[in-house]
Amino acid sequence: MFNQEFVQPIKIHKTLVFIGLIGFITACAPTRFVKPLEHKQHAVTASFGGPVINVPGIATMPIPYTTFGYGYGLTPKTTVYGNFHTTASVFGVVQFDFGTSHSIWKNESNTKGVSIAPELNFMIDVFEKRASLYPQLDANYYMDYHNKEKDGKSKVNYLYFGLSNWFELRAEGANDTKVQQRIICSPQIGHTFDRGKWNYTLEAKILAPYVSNEKIVVDYKSILGNHGGLGLYFGVNYKL
């Protein structure tokens, strides 16, 4: 008889990397403009990061999704924005998101507040012209801390946490199977270093924490073990 440990499990490295590139596309960017821009303010934005996967023999790392975009302070409370997803475009998929970030509550000094960001994610591939539309709704609570002013320049730090929700409009998936997850809900926590014209954001999401990450073709890393995934992101805004 042979011992179980002699049996070498298959290690499908390339396939894991491939599926990893697809994985959790709902998690391809951090929340945009947790604090809406000032009225008539313009800003360009970029983000980098995605779900953390194990790439066997290489590393455990976030998938490098990248986006570039633009935002505008439409009113004192509302910022409109749009972003182009560059990583998707490398694979022949034109992906944009358009949305608004709206302040629904803030204290008098604007050091604490709540914002919501309804958004539409649109994708179409150049090969078969198959289009997809995913509504998204993010909601975040933010709070400033340890703010300073030096040489006339303010240095603002704020923490935020909230939920990012994607909505699947298709009821049926591949091979006539019922789509199991119509709402993909991901709690998130982030930190923004606002340095005047520039600000930098680090964000972590727990992606779909109620969904098992076992028995699928990608090795997601999650702080919850066999459920969900972990997403890590870096974002930068430059106010014009």
């Binding site: 499908i12 697809i22 709902t26 490398v90």
Partner: protein, 300 residues
């Protein structure tokens, strides 16, 4: 002025990146090229450990070169036949379509098992390396994988095999050419009389949707159109399906069950293996039980 500059740079960047149009098809194939096959002397990772009772005599091992034309290329495909060549014209032969990993050396222990099913070298077994695998020329694509399998079928036909004595067996990725041949028999050199699927996947699109959670079209990532769950609907020969209930790569309920349930042919047999993962189902069943299951299906 600054806005115009940013806009110009942004649009240029978008156009540049969008022009790349990289596809991920080649990531589906985990092929390893080789100058030669080492078989029992191979020291790399292998699919299963099997004992010396499953050894195959050197005289029964035949390395075959099969020239094919595919997608405008002339390719030499390597295949390994175990058994007496003279019996191809008179006995049942198993065409084994291996999975995505490495090449023939990785799957050699499986060929040894099948060669010893029902007695020493009872059945002839042909395993083909798809283009880009092992000693086969080219780089793998969906179409040239099918063309390589058709080349193997043509070689068997040229050596006297008839359709009524052909059993086609697909494991994991190999379920794609197996379903393609069984579902569209007139397009291939031979039409199999029975098919075996072990740990098949439903479709490329299903794999993508498993990973992304969303119902995304597969065309966002790959050109391949592999859809075993559709092809199996056209199959009109008996089916044996084996799948580990603990398959951590292609979950039995999301892949194997769909293929099995879509089968509408004359008879089907399901073997769900408790505790079986993607690769180790023969071990979990016990090699003897596993081979008896296959043998009963082939001989019934």
């Amino acid at each position: 002025m600054k806005m115009k500059k940013i806009l110009f740079i942004g649009i240029s960047l978008v156009l540049l990146i969008a022009s790349c149009r990289k596809r991920l098809d080649d990531f589906l194939f985990n092929n390893v090229k080789a100058d030669q096959y080492l078989l029992d002397d191979y020291t790399g990772r292998i699919t299963l450990e099997v004992g010396s009772e499953y050894d195959v005599a050197d005289s029964m091992i035949h390395l075959i070169n099969i020239p094919i034309q595919s997608e405008g290329q002339n390719l030499n495909i390597s295949a390994l036949y175990t058994g007496e060549l003279s019996r191809i014209a008179v006995d049942t032969v198993i065409l084994y379509c291996h999975g995505t990993a490495d090449n023939i050396d990785f799957y050699w222990p499986r060929q040894k098992l099948y060669s010893n099913m029902g007695g020493k070298s009872r059945f002839g077994v042909l395993m083909v390396d798809y283009p880009g695998y092992g000693m086969s020329e080219g780089d793998p694509t969906e179409q040239n994988m099918y063309d390589a399998v058709n080349g193997a079928l043509q070689w068997l036909k040229d050596n006297g095999l008839t359709s009524d004595r052909l059993v086609i067996f697909g494991f994991s990725l190999g379920s794609a050419p197996t379903c393609e041949v069984a579902g569209n028999p007139t397009e291939f050199a031979l039409a199999p009389s029975k098919m075996i699927l072990e740990a098949p996947f439903a479709s490329a699109e299903k794999m993508i949707q498993d990973a992304s959670i969303l119902a995304l079209p597969s065309s966002y990532f790959v050109n391949v159109k592999i859809d075993n769950a559709e092809e199996i609907k056209k199959v009109n020969i008996p089916l044996l399906w084996i799948h580990g209930e603990a398959d951590s790569f292609l979950a039995i309920d999301k892949h194997g069950e769909i293929v099995y349930n879509n089968y509408q042919g004359p008879s089907k047999t399901a073997v769900r293996v408790p505790g079986g993962d993607h690769e180790d189902t023969p071990f979990i069943m016990g090699y003897s039980n596993y081979l008896t299951t296959l043998l009963n299906f082939i001989e019934q």
